[in-house]
């Protein structure tokens, strides 16, 4: 019986989760206005269709992840930066494959805090894991890092129709190795729209991402290489300085290669739809 499918799928999903939460937005001065002592909660759902080719066979799977993310404002610094304590209140992951259906409550990441200090436009100043996740693997580490991502706002005032860009280079240490993420996003302020009883600025974005790296799994070397495209819309409440809703679709072409007692090259195509909604402010 072959049991690598489920392991590899979860690793791929985790890599993508950590990228998919990078979302966007912006004559309008856009900045985050988190208030000290307050706690914000976001619901984050991602539904993915995965096609994986392994050992000469193509296998299709679906994955649904549903998380509630807690963002507590720890401090507002003299420099105008914002220190946030980010954690997960609930996390469920459901995978359906021809092999079996599995639903996991990711108890190991619930309540585990990461402190992230960002500028008013979302540039990351520092990141510090407060509670290490046991048996992290890619799933734990990817989720913990991913939930601490904030979208990048424009440095200058922007008008409707104006664009701005952001490039993010990130390194995730996991499973005895490192994965390098690069993303390039272009944002366009496209107008105003009411969303969830908030007067919002509508920001469309498109971009690309890439991942490369190497890890260890069960004594085998695991190599990762991939590229992706993302397209989405963010609704930003300028008055509150908060993202109200972010909807995105991503297409990723990834490859996992394994050497050791098993030698495999596994191309994967992952199409995802993701929604991040402000639940409580």
């Amino acid at each position: 019986m072959n049991k690598f499918y489920s392991h590899l799928s979860l690793i791929a999903i985790a890599i993508l989760l950590s990228v998919s939460v990078i979302f966007a937005q912006g004559n309008y001065k856009l900045e985050y206005k988190f208030q000290k002592g307050k706690t914000y909660r976001y619901g984050h759902t991602t539904n993915s269709n995965i096609t994986q080719e392994m050992m000469g066979k193509e296998m299709k799977m679906t994955n649904a992840s549903d998380m509630t993310i807690r963002v507590a404002v720890d401090d507002l610094t003299k420099e105008g930066n914002i220190a946030l304590i980010v954690s997960v209140d609930s996390a469920k992951n459901t995978t359906k494959s021809p092999m079996m259906d599995t639903t996991m409550i990711l108890n190991n990441i619930i309540g585990k805090r990461t402190k992230i200090t960002v500028s008013k436009i979302g540039a990351v100043i520092s990141r510090e894991v407060i509670d290490t996740i046991k048996n992290e693997g890619m799933m734990g580490n990817g989720s913990q890092r991913g939930m601490a991502q904030l979208i990048r706002l424009p440095e200058k005032e922007v008008k409707v129709g104006e664009k701005w860009n952001s490039t993010t280079i990130d390194t995730v240490e996991s499973m005895g190795g490192k994965i390098f993420h690069t993303s390039n996003l272009e944002y366009t302020l496209t107008g105003k729209e009411k969303k969830q009883n908030h007067d919002c600025l509508k920001i469309d974005y498109t971009g690309t991402s890439s991942d490369t790296g190497k890890m260890m799994m069960q004594g085998m070397e695991l190599f990762v290489e991939g590229t992706g495209k993302i397209k989405g819309t963010v609704y930003f409440d300028q008055k509150l300085g908060l993202v109200v809703l972010d909807e995105s679709t991503t297409d990723n072409e990834q490859t996992m290669a394994i050497t050791g007692q098993q030698n495999m090259t596994i191309p994967m195509s992952v199409s995802s739809k993701s929604t991040k909604t402000l639940l409580e402010k």
């Binding site: 019986m1 072959n2 049991k3 499918y5 269709n49 096609t51 080719e53 392994m54 050992m55 000469g56 066979k57 193509e58 296998m59 299709k60 494959s97 021809p98 092999m99 079996m100 259906d101 498109t206 490369t212 790296g213 190497k214 004594g219 070397e221 190599f223 990762v224 290489e225 590229t227 992706g228 495209k229 993302i230 397209k231 679709t249 991503t250 297409d251 990723n252 072409e253 490859t255 290669a257 394994i258 050497t259 050791g260 007692q261 098993q262 030698n263 495999m264 090259t265 191309p267 199409s271």
Partner: protein
């Protein structure tokens, strides 16, 4: 083959002869079961499992000298049980190899007399199923490249692609439409690239360009297969072992990106609109793309890694029914050993449960059949498959080049991991797919006493799937997953040989029933299964 193994085979041979003599005294179904019960013992099960899962077998990787040793052992048991060879051998070649991308690959498009060449990796990339060939031909847009009578949809209807190169889209019509006649948002096998290639070849195409469909996907990267030679990250060692049969039938298959789409259709948006018409009307829009010819060459090199299935045959006694074949099989390979290891720690994946237990059950059932003193009405083919752990290679190779016609193969009984977990229960994961076979099995189980657990989701992952894809009814015997699977701890001492023997007795009873009746069995709705 070692002296110890020769000795064991000699002993087995003598035992088989003795049992055969005893078996001759028994005729009839009830007495046949008692004969089988005498042969199918936990002691004999233990003997087989401890041989196949011994450290000397080094985890029976595919391919390896140790896998060959295991094959010789199994063939010896088949021989000593009185089973016949097929085409003069107890072995059936399984053509395997590691396929690397060659140096000479190109894609050129001549449009209105002007030639444009494209760059490998960034503008086109061969798939792993590509052929070692050069072709030059006009090009046909063939929609999604699907001929699906079961969904009343045919992109090749009213268009002749013989001797042409086809351009097809990935996926299938209505990919994100829950009311799509292609099973809604659940993708069918028709969306597989391998299926599109098979269909194109059947229609006579000589080359294929495949593009990611732009209506539902934003990334049109021409990845094809992620060849290490085209990557800075991926190691050459990770290239997988593949089936290498029918190399001459293969044609150039490449994935193309936006540049080629634009050259062929004018723009990506024009292709997107074509796709949108197909999706909204479910009417194919295939056509010859005028004033364009495509020159395509892909090259590969193959490192031969071939191995063998083991086969043993009992010809049926009924003049008419003997043309029908029941297959009883299980895989005898496992995943080998850790190449980097310390001398003190265990490093061999013995694969006692996975699948020395199932292979031993196949051998013991063969021994029981051989000792019956009467031949079944239908013919029976016992098989030990290689390369299951590499992707069902042995069974896929068999169904591609069967020793007996598949339309005369009445059923396949697959035994994979039957020696662990509770002694009283056994997974039978084929009830929904093959209810009439499941009924026979349940009736026979009344004398055996297992609690049979039906779990359709466990269908995937073993050799019956190769037969299922060819619409052959099957039963799958399985005692469930456990923490030792694919670990060095899956050793022979952990096997409950009493349970494994009990499972083998159930397989025997069910097999004997099937082999002695005239009924034909149905595979229900195979398209919805893996």
């Amino acid at each position: 083959m070692s002296n110890i193994k020769k000795y064991i085979i000699q002993i087995l041979f003598l035992i088989s002869i003795a049992l055969y003599v005893v078996g001759c005294a028994h005729l009839g179904f009830t007495s046949s079961n008692s004969t089988a019960d005498e042969i199918i013992t936990s002691e004999l099960m233990k003997q087989h499992i401890f041989t196949l899962a011994s450290d000397s077998m080094k985890g029976r990787n595919t391919p390896s000298p140790e896998l060959d040793s295991a094959a010789n052992y199994i063939a010896g048991v088949f021989k000593s049980s009185g089973l016949q060879t097929v085409n003069g051998s107890y072995f059936q070649k399984v053509g395997l190899g590691i396929i690397s991308l060659g140096d000479d690959n190109y894609l050129k498009i001549v449009k209105d007399g002007s030639e444009q060449s494209y760059k490998i990796k960034t503008e086109f990339t061969p798939f792993d199923m590509t052929g070692n060939k050069q072709v030059n031909a006009p090009i046909i847009f063939a929609g999604y490249g699907i001929t699906a009578p079961d969904y009343k949809y045919d992109d090749y209807k009213d268009i002749d692609v013989k001797g042409k190169i086809v351009f097809v889209l990935k996926h299938e019509p209505g990919e994100n439409d829950s009311s799509s006649s292609f099973e809604g948002v659940k993708e069918t096998d028709y969306s597989n690239v391998s299926e599109k290639v098979r269909i194109a070849i059947e229609h006579g195409a000589i080359g294929i360009l495949i593009a990611t469909d732009p209506l539902n996907h934003t990334s049109l990267v021409p990845r094809g297969f992620p060849w290490p030679s085209l990557s800075k990250t991926l190691p050459k060692d990770a290239l997988p072992i593949s089936l290498t049969a029918d190399e001459e039938r293969k044609i150039p298959v490449v994935q193309i990106g936006e540049e080629v789409i634009t050259q062929l259709f004018g723009s990506v948006d024009k292709l997107r609109k074509l796709q949108s018409i197909i999706d909204s009307t479910m009417v194919p829009q295939s056509f010859h793309i005028p004033n364009i010819s495509v020159s395509l060459k892909t090259s590969t090199s193959i490192k031969d890694m071939s191995t063998q299935n083991v086969v043993g045959y009992i010809e049926g006694s009924d003049p008419k029914l003997k043309d029908e074949v029941l297959i009883i099989g299980g895989h005898y390979d496992h995943v080998g050993y850790m190449k980097q290891h310390s001398d003190t720690a265990d490093y061999i994946f013995n694969g006692a449960d996975d699948n020395a237990s199932g292979t031993s059950a196949v051998m013991i059932v063969a021994q029981a059949f051989g000792a019956m003193g009467q031949k079944p009405k239908r013919s029976v083919l016992f098989m030990a498959f290689a390369g299951e752990e590499k992707g069902l290679m042995g069974s896929r190779s068999y169904v591609n080049k069967p020793l007996f016609p598949l339309d005369q193969t009445v059923a396949m009984l697959n035994i994979d991991m039957v020696g662990r977990n509770g002694i009283d229960s056994l997974y039978m994961v084929s009830e929904a797919a093959c209810p009439d076979l499941a009924q026979i099995n349940e009736e026979e189980n009344k004398e055996i006493g297992f609690t049979l657990v039906d779990e359709e989701k466990l269908l995937g992952g073993s050799d019956h799937m190769s037969f299922q894809k060819k619409k052959i009814p099957f039963l799958f015997y399985f005692s469930g997953m456990h923490s030792d699977v694919h670990q060095v701890t899956d050793g022979p001492k952990k096997i409950n040989t009493i349970k494994a023997a009990k499972a083998a007795r159930l397989v025997f009873r069910t097999a004997w029933r099937i082999a002695n009746e005239e009924k034909k069995y149905q595979l229900v709705d195979s398209k919805t299964l893996f």
